[in-house]
Structure formats: structure tokens, C-alpha cells
């Protein structure tokens, strides 16, 4: 009975996810000229400076934005977990970015970060900088711009997940700790953080996968000027019509995500995974 109910889903996953991915995998191992099995595409990729750059950019953006998003999300969640009328209103306000489409976020951020944009304007009005910073001409500035744009969009999701975690902690534990004379920092480190660990893991996994696959923000904000693996795979096909290299870079990205995930899960061990 269950098999009949679930078969449409399985057939769909097979036809529209598994088979295309399989074809991409096969394509990535085919030699461009002879159509034989070979690793030539991967060799070509690793020799390309632009690919190595894209790889570096992806790791930078994913790493920095994850750390930043978890930190900011945790701070917000801790503040908003108090139950007052104001925090209830703020909770509603802070889920706003979740509702803004990523493509729209990219457009918005282009107004903020362009050379005559608002962030330069504000920094200059506050006389923090003398000359406008060029955010959109590649290099570290552009990487930071994409990290900040991604944080704007995604921190609320992390906050929501962590908020659910904080609210699931038994309030009596805090009361007991207070009675025993524990300070705020002590309570945070000894009670909140350990009990929150599974939720942090959950947020890291859900976010981590998407952080490595980041596409719309760098694509719309930077296009050719700053590639990450996602946009590299896209542009390699769209601009140079090279489906083989595009496929190979997709597969490498997949392997990278999987490896990062396995390393992370190994590192946090069993206790971080009790929820997942």
C-alpha cells in the first residue's frame, strides 16, 4: 500500500533528479574528443587558473558566511527568545528577509554596494572612509560583499532554527542554576550551548549545503567578474558551450559538499547529532 502512495515521488526523483545527475556524472568522465572514459576534464579544470580561483572563492564565501550567520543568528535568537510583546513583534520583523526572493536580494544589494551606492555614501557621511570603496570590481571586497548579502538573506533562517532550540530548553534548568548562584555566562556555556548543539548542527547542515551551492547572488552581482563554483559551471556552458567542464566542476562541487559534511559530522561527533 505504502509503495503505491510513494511511487509517484520515487519515479519523479528517479527521472528528474537521479537520471540528470547520472548523465552529468557520465559526461564529466568523458573525453571531449574521443568520448572515451578519461579524467581529462578534471585535469583541465585543475590546471585552469579561473577554476582554482572559483574554488577558492566558494570556500571563502561558504566558510565566512556560515560562521557569521551562525554567530549573528545565535545572538538574535538569544535576544528574541525572551517572551515580551516587543520581541514577538521583532520576531515577525526579522523573518522578513526569508520572504524576499534571492534574486531580489541581489538586485537590492547592487544598489547598496555599487561604487556610488549607499554603503559608501553612509561610510563617507560618517567620515569613516575618505574615498569610496570599490565593492564590485573583484577581489576580497567583492567576496565580503557577497558574504554580507548572503548574511542578510539567510541569518533569519538560522535564527528561526536556533530559536526553536532555545524555546525547547526547560526553563526550570535556568531557575535551578540561578538558585545555585551561576552567572549568565556560566549558564550560557554550561546549559544553553550544550542543549542547543543539535539545533546548531541542524542549521549548519541545512545552511552549509546551500552556502557551497551559492549561485544567484554572485551571478547577479558579479557575473563574469567573480566566479564561484556554481556560476563557473553555469558560465562554462553558457559562454563557452563546454558541457564537459561544466559537468566536471559540478561533480567536484558535490564531492566537496559531501566531504565537508562528513568532516563536520565526524568533528561534532555523536552528541551533536542526537537530533539529526
Amino acid at each position: 500500500m505504502e509503495i503505491i502512495l510513494i511511487s509517484p515521488l520515487l519515479i519523479f526523483l528517479l527521472c528528474f533528479m537521479f537520471l540528470p545527475i547520472w548523465r552529468t556524472l557520465i559526461l564529466s568522465f568523458k573525453d571531449t574528443l574521443s568520448n572515451q572514459f578519461s579524467l581529462s576534464n578534471y585535469k583541465d579544470l585543475i590546471q585552469q587558473a579561473s577554476f582554482r580561483k572559483a574554488l577558492y572563492n566558494t570556500i571563502f564565501i561558504a566558510g565566512v558566511s556560515l560562521v557569521l550567520e551562525i554567530t549573528l543568528g545565535l545572538i538574535l535568537a538569544l535576544i528574541l527568545s525572551r517572551n515580551t510583546k516587543i520581541t514577538a513583534g521583532l520576531r515577525m520583523l526579522f523573518i522578513l528577509p526569508l520572504a524576499i526572493p534571492t534574486v531580489v536580494v541581489a538586485v537590492m544589494m547592487s544598489y547598496i554596494f555599487s561604487s556610488s551606492g549607499w554603503i559608501n555614501r553612509i561610510l563617507m557621511d560618517l567620515s569613516l572612509i575618505k574615498a569610496p570603496i570599490s565593492w564590485m570590481s573583484g577581489g576580497i571586497n567583492s567576496l565580503i560583499m557577497i558574504v554580507l548579502a548572503d548574511c542578510w538573506k539567510v541569518t533569519p533562517l538560522v535564527m528561526l532554527i536556533l530559536l526553536a532550540g532555545i524555546q525547547s530548553i526547560d526553563k526550570d534548568l535556568y531557575r535551578q542554576a540561578r538558585v545555585d548562584g551561576a552567572g549568565s555566562l556560566h549558564i550560557f556555556r554550561q546549559i544553553t550551548l550544550p542543549l542547543l548543539a543539535p539545533y546548531i548542527t541542524c542549521a549548519v547542515i541545512i545552511r552549509g549545503i546551500d552556502a557551497f551551492r551559492i549561485f544567484a547572488l554572485p551571478f547577479i552581482l558579479m557575473g563574469q567578474n567573480l566566479k564561484v563554483l556554481g556560476t563557473y559551471a553555469y558560465l562554462e556552458y553558457a559562454e563557452y558551450n563546454n558541457a564537459y567542464l561544466s559537468a566536471a566542476s559540478s561533480v567536484l562541487l558535490f564531492i566537496m559538499i559531501l566531504a565537508a559534511l562528513v568532516i563536520y559530522i565526524k568533528a561534532v561527533g555523536k552528541k551533536g547529532l542526537s537530533l539529526a
Binding site: 510513494i6 509517484p8 540528470p20 535576544i79 522578513l96 531580489v104 555614501r121 551551492r213 561544466s246
Partner: protein
């Protein structure tokens, strides 16, 4: 002192949150003379709806993408629920191990960059004539939507006490009747959420749309067109037009949008 710090942090976060939105809104309702100056003002000087009017007046170039985005989003929501409701119900009845494996599998498939799925699919769709059609794009959007919809619904169906269903079966209900009369009403809010997520994921989808369309763009593609052929007012106004329905939907149903729905299925 501590209260003051928290207050300050909240204020800073709020400004950071609202400022980009405000700028987008400001550009979409400003006159060119207020934007293209050495130092544009922080406030809206001359409010105008002329950019919105221009876009609405452009007839087909606006209404056809709007229609495509709407139809595709509704189609993919319909198919998403049609496939996800029975599947998620079945998954929620599986034992822990099988459920875990299935969810892990879907997670693994999600790790593949979308390009690597979109490219073979667009080639396949050209062959079978689904390229640049409403139906074809809706199918492609399901790739993105179905895992999320199933996640949400598995969480919902698992939370319904199995005894209720058993009781109904004892009272002589068939399985289908028990599902329709007991399970569905109890999980209605979750189904609504799954539907909204499906709609939203399709409404702002960009990658599959850019691979699967040629002559008939969707709204996000149209907006991207004005980003790459710089027209700051049209891009801002299109961005507003895409965002407004999303905002309305999100705030109407915001009390249902909880982290539990996103992590419910993993909890086991």
C-alpha cells in the same frame, strides 16, 4: 547597562535589515533627477508611481511574464501537493531506519548544484517538446519544491497520533476514508504551509527558468534583463512587483512559518 546594550544591538540589526528594502522601494518610486545626482537624499523627495505605470502600460512585455510566473507557480503548487501528500503520508508510516535513509537520499540529491540537473533536463525537454512551456517549467520547479514539501508534510503527518486513525479503522472506516476524514483535517495547516512554500519557491526561481525559457520569460528573468541592460528604475520596480505578493503571503501566514516545519522531518 545590559538592557541598553541589547537595545542598541536590536536597533542596529533593525536598521541593517530595513535599509536595503527601503532603498529598493525608494528607487522604484523616485524620479530620475532624485537618483542620478551627486548625493541622492536619504528621504524620498518626489514620490512618483510613473515606473509602475510604465511597466503596467507596457502590456505584453509585463503581463505575459506575470501570467507565466503565476501559472507556473500555481501548477507546480498543485503537482507538489498532489505528489507530496500521499508520499509524505506513506513515509511517515515507515519505520525510523527507512525514513532516515529516504531523507538522507533526498538530501544527497540536493547537494548536487542545480546547474548539473538543469542542463540535462533542458536538453531532454527540447527533445520532447516541453522546452519553453508552462508545464515543462512547472515540472522543473518541482525538483526544487518536492523535497521541501515532503520534509514539511512528513513532519506534520508524523505528529498526528496514530491511535486516532486506528480508532477510525475499528469503527469501520476504510483507510482512504480515515485519511480523508481524520488525517487531512488535522494536518490542514501544515498542508497550507507546504503549499505556500511550493508557490514561493516557484515564484522566485531563477536557474531552471533561465535554462528552460527562450521567448517567454518569467518575472525574475525579466527583472534580470533590466539588471544586465542597466535600467535601475525598471529593475527596482520589477523587484518590488515580485516581492509584494510574497510579503503579503508570508505575513498572512506568518504564524505558521516555524522552524519545526523545516526540521520536523529530520527530528525523526
Amino acid at each position: 547597562m545590559k538592557q541598553a546594550t541589547i537595545f542598541l544591538v536590536v536597533i542596529i540589526f533593525t536598521i541593517l535589515l530595513l535599509f536595503p528594502l527601503y532603498i529598493m522601494f525608494k528607487i522604484s518610486v523616485s524620479q530620475p533627477s532624485d537618483i542620478f545626482t551627486e548625493k541622492p537624499s536619504y528621504l524620498i523627495r518626489h514620490f512618483t508611481l510613473s515606473h509602475f505605470k510604465d511597466i503596467f502600460a507596457s502590456r505584453g512585455t509585463f503581463f505575459l511574464p506575470l501570467r507565466k510566473s503565476l501559472v507556473v507557480a500555481l501548477l507546480s503548487t498543485f503537482f507538489s501537493l498532489l505528489i507530496a501528500i500521499p508520499s509524505a503520508y506513506a513515509i511517515s508510516k515507515f519505520n525510523y531506519r527507512l525514513r532516515y535513509i529516504l531523507i538522507l537520499l533526498i538530501f544527497m540529491l540536493r547537494m548536487m548544484p542545480e546547474i548539473s540537473i538543469a542542463l540535462p533536463i533542458s536538453i531532454g525537454f527540447i527533445k520532447i517538446g516541453l522546452f519553453d512551456t508552462y508545464f515543462g517549467l512547472a515540472i522543473a520547479h518541482l525538483i526544487k519544491i518536492l523535497p521541501v514539501a515532503c520534509f514539511i508534510l512528513v513532519g506534520i503527518f508524523s505528529s498526528i497520533p496514530i491511535d486516532l486513525e486506528k480508532q477510525a479503522r475499528i469503527d469501520g472506516c476504510s483507510r482512504l476514508r480515515a485519511f480523508i476524514w481524520i488525517v487531512l483535517p488535522l494536518s490542514l495547516s501544515g498542508i497550507v504551509v507546504a503549499g505556500i512554500f511550493s508557490f514561493l519557491l516557484s515564484w522566485d526561481e531563477f536557474i531552471y527558468a533561465s535554462y528552460l525559457t527562450l521567448a517567454h520569460p518569467t518575472l525574475p528573468l525579466k527583472m534580470y534583463y533590466y539588471v544586465s541592460h542597466p535600467d535601475i528604475f525598471y529593475s527596482a520596480t520589477y523587484a518590488m512587483i515580485i516581492t509584494i505578493p510574497v510579503l503579503i503571503l508570508t505575513f498572512t501566514f506568518q504564524k505558521y512559518i516555524k522552524a519545526e516545519y523545516l526540521s520536523g522531518a529530520i527530528k525523526g
